[in-house]
């Protein structure tokens, strides 16, 4: 370090004696070769909400950073706001006016005196213009550089990079012109898949079953793409009947080194949204795995990739096809963390500070993640919202829960329905699976419906136990699902025990709620005395 790098003598002294000195070793396994201060961060703004904002705050804190939350009017009482060192309002509940509002977020960063911004996943995380604006405003962006994101975030451009890097891709065309798409459909055969060029997370994708559906499907896909990403471009791909979805985690530093952290199997999807992920991918041959890792590394090198990213592939027998690169942290990153003993958010921050990425350990054991959504699984997965009256979360050996939920919190209609990720680890898949069943049995929410009971039945099922995995898993094995009659009987009994005290009053009442609630004789209900009786209103 040179004195000439600093304007003032005291800055130089402070920098050289700073506790975060040269060759800092973070506990996430990254040896950070950082010049103290000027390049090292002190305060990180998290441009996101929900479980991922909470997750990032935790790692930032471990690294000694101060944390800044931003929040919309719907998130005043949200967990990430309570947890951060500082928090700034950025606008109305609608994402377009708050979590997608670049100017408001950059203003918050300026006011807070933050020096770096982590975008999380979703929202602005894969918008090159945001990465660009963050850098232009003088902040460090914790993610890939804007130009890499622009090249890889666009699915069409990413395909071209893949082809050049000798990575196999699914047959497809980058046109939504009707006659071109018709002839493509005729050539490769239906069904085909219409995808948003700017899409991700399974949104803006539609299966087109026949030539007749083509026009309306293209329109719908373009409309959804425009609404969700502000970019209505759509392209088409051959739809593989029973593929598996397997992805490779990559980490690249600013010094040209890229490593791969194994694979994640994400085949269990509902409407193209992943709901259960695991690592390693069961039954994937060592040879195919190695070829996929090599392909992902070639791709990352070709694109000049930096920071955390994921190369997604469809696997069909021993063949695999490149799908897309997600130029951000993935929702399902914890299963990789558990097998590789790493904290990927720490890795991201260290890389953004200029650290060299360290070689991975040999992965151990197996990990599974279940995404618990606020949805009524028994009624076509209808989105559920409202206040949480009661919450019980699992814990124990090999069990991790990433959530922003708490009793009294409100599940908002404005944002993604993910409310918790339950992650389990075991020496082998079977132990991880058994731990997951037990963990989901402990998971209980009263208020908005959740998909926890559905996930529990899937994990406990025989097809999942023998890992008969494909992206068709749910339509094949769980075309419909309902709560068991035995459980319903118990629930009816419990409701009647609760209601037996109140029902006399109800039948005699004039129907006005206020009067009814006040005068309900609660004394005999078993739940009342223990504080489990809570007045609850669905809003």
């Amino acid at each position: 370090m040179l004195r000439s790098e600093f304007d003032r003598e005291e800055d130089y002294v402070a920098a050289t004696v700073a506790p975060r000195g040269l060759f800092l070793k973070y506990d996430c396994g990254v040896t950070a070769n950082i010049r103290p201060r000027q390049s090292g961060m002190k305060k990180l703004l998290i441009a996101n909400r929900g479980e991922i904002a909470v997750r990032i705050i935790r790692s930032a804190r471990v690294m000694g950073l101060r944390t800044v939350a931003v929040y919309s009017d719907a998130d005043v009482n949200a967990a990430h706001v309570a947890m951060a060192d500082e928090a700034y309002p950025i606008g109305p509940p609608e994402p377009a006016q708050s979590y997608l509002n670049m100017l408001a977020i950059l203003d918050a960063a300026r006011i807070a005196g933050a020096d770096a911004i982590h975008p999380g996943y979703g929202f602005l995380s894969e918008r090159p213009e945001f990465a660009q604006a963050v850098a232009a405003a003088g902040f460090t962006f914790v993610g890939p550089p804007a130009e890499v994101m622009a090249a890889l975030g666009d699915k069409l451009a990413a395909r071209q990079i893949a082809v050049k890097a000798d990575v196999p891709v699914v047959p497809g065309i980058d046109s939504s012109d009707l006659s071109t798409t018709r002839s493509f459909g005729a050539r490769v055969g239906y069904p085909i898949l219409a995808k948003a060029a700017a899409g991700g997370g399974g949104r803006g994708m539609r299966v087109v079953e026949s030539a007749e559906q083509l026009e309306s499907a293209l329109e719908a896909a373009a409309r959804e793409a425009q609404a969700a990403f502000g970019d209505g471009r759509v392209f088409l791909e051959k739809y593989l009947a029973r593929p598996r979805h397997v992805e490779i985690q990559i980490l690249g530093d600013n010094h040209g080194k890229v490593i791969a952290l194994g694979e994640r199997e994400c085949s269990i999807q509902r409407r193209h949204q992943k709901i259960i992920e695991e690592s390693p991918a069961p039954g994937l041959s060592e040879q195919v795995r190695a070829r996929m890792v090599e392909a992902a590394l070639r791709l990352a090198q070709a694109a000049g990739y930096r920071n955390a990213g994921t190369a997604e592939f469809l696997v069909d027998g021993n063949d695999f096809y490149f799908l897309e690169v997600n130029a951000r942290l993935q929702v399902e990153h914890p299963i990789t963390e558990l097998r590789f003993d790493r904290d990927l958010v720490c890795d991201q921050i260290a890389i953004a500070e200029g650290a060299r990425v360290s070689d991975p350990i040999v992965p151990h054991g197996a990990a599974i993640e279940c995404r618990v959504n606020a949805e009524d699984a028994a009624h076509d997965f209808r989105p559920a919202v409202g206040p949480v009256a009661h919450l019980a979360l699992p814990s124990g050996p090999g069990v991790r829960v990433d959530t922003h939920l708490a009793a009294g919190a409100e599940v908002s209609p404005y944002y993604d329905s993910l409310i918790a990720k339950v992650i389990t680890w075991g020496q082998d898949r079977e132990l991880a699976r058994k731990r997951m069943v037990a963990a989901l049995d402990e998971f209980s929410v009263l208020g908005p419906h959740t998909s926890a009971a559905f996930l529990r039945d899937v994990i406990a099922s025989e097809p999942f136990a023998r890992a008969d995995l494909s992206t068709r898993f749910l339509p094949e094995f769980f075309p419909t699902w309902k709560l068991s009659d035995d459980k319903q009987k118990i629930a009816l009994l419990a409701a009647a025990l609760m209601g037996s005290t109140a029902s006399a009053k109800m039948s005699g009442s004039d129907g006005r709620e206020g009067a009814r609630r006040e005068t309900t004789p609660a004394a005999r209900s078993p739940w009342v005395g223990l504080g489990h009786f809570e007045p609850w209103e669905r809003r």
Partner: protein, 169 residues
């Protein structure tokens, strides 16, 4: 007490026949079951046969919510409401099942719609939800506007009974 699971037609008749301390005898739809209420460290469980399940209940304005392990059941206590049935309508209005934005209105006033006909499309949580007619009916009044944000329970469409000679046309 009569309980109807949310979103379903079937109504269950549940009677508590006898309760001595924690031993409960009840009849659910004519079938008798015995259960033991267990209180373990402040948590309640119902034991039926040799299976003990953790249970939680909260009571709302129009619903009783019961958590049985990770599963949540929602019941509506039934009060007599003869008018709807008499008119042959399963519902007199279409209400928003969740807060969201009105994306599309697929019907017009005075239109006759069949059971299952899509009426209105809402967007919430980035998902499109289509609300359909629960029975044959006439669209009496459209109260929703395309692009408007609606709250949970907001009346979107009012329905009236279908014309008597339904099988004509």
């Amino acid at each position: 007490m009569k309980l109807r699971p949310a979103g379903e037609q079937k109504v269950f008749e549940v009677e508590i026949l006898d309760r001595k301390n924690d031993a409960i005898r009840a009849r659910i739809d004519g079938e008798e079951i015995s259960a033991v209420l267990e209180n373990r460290a402040g948590r309640l469980a119902l034991k039926v046969g040799d299976q003990s399940v953790r249970v939680n209940v909260v009571r709302g304005r129009n619903a009783i919510l019961v958590a049985v392990g990770p599963a949540q059941f929602e019941f509506a206590p039934i009060e007599a409401s003869g008018r709807r049935r008499a008119q042959g309508l399963s519902a007199q209005e279409i209400t928003a099942p969740l807060p969201g934005k009105v994306l599309k209105i697929l019907v017009e006033e005075n239109q006759v719609v069949e059971h299952g006909a899509p009426l209105i499309v809402l967007e919430a949580m980035k998902m499109e939800t289509t609300l359909a007619a629960e029975s044959r009916a006439v669209i009496a009044k459209i109260r929703a506007e395309v692009g408007a944000m609606v709250d949970h329970g907001a009346v979107l469409i009012e329905l009236s009974p279908p014309p008597a000679d339904s099988s004509a046309t």
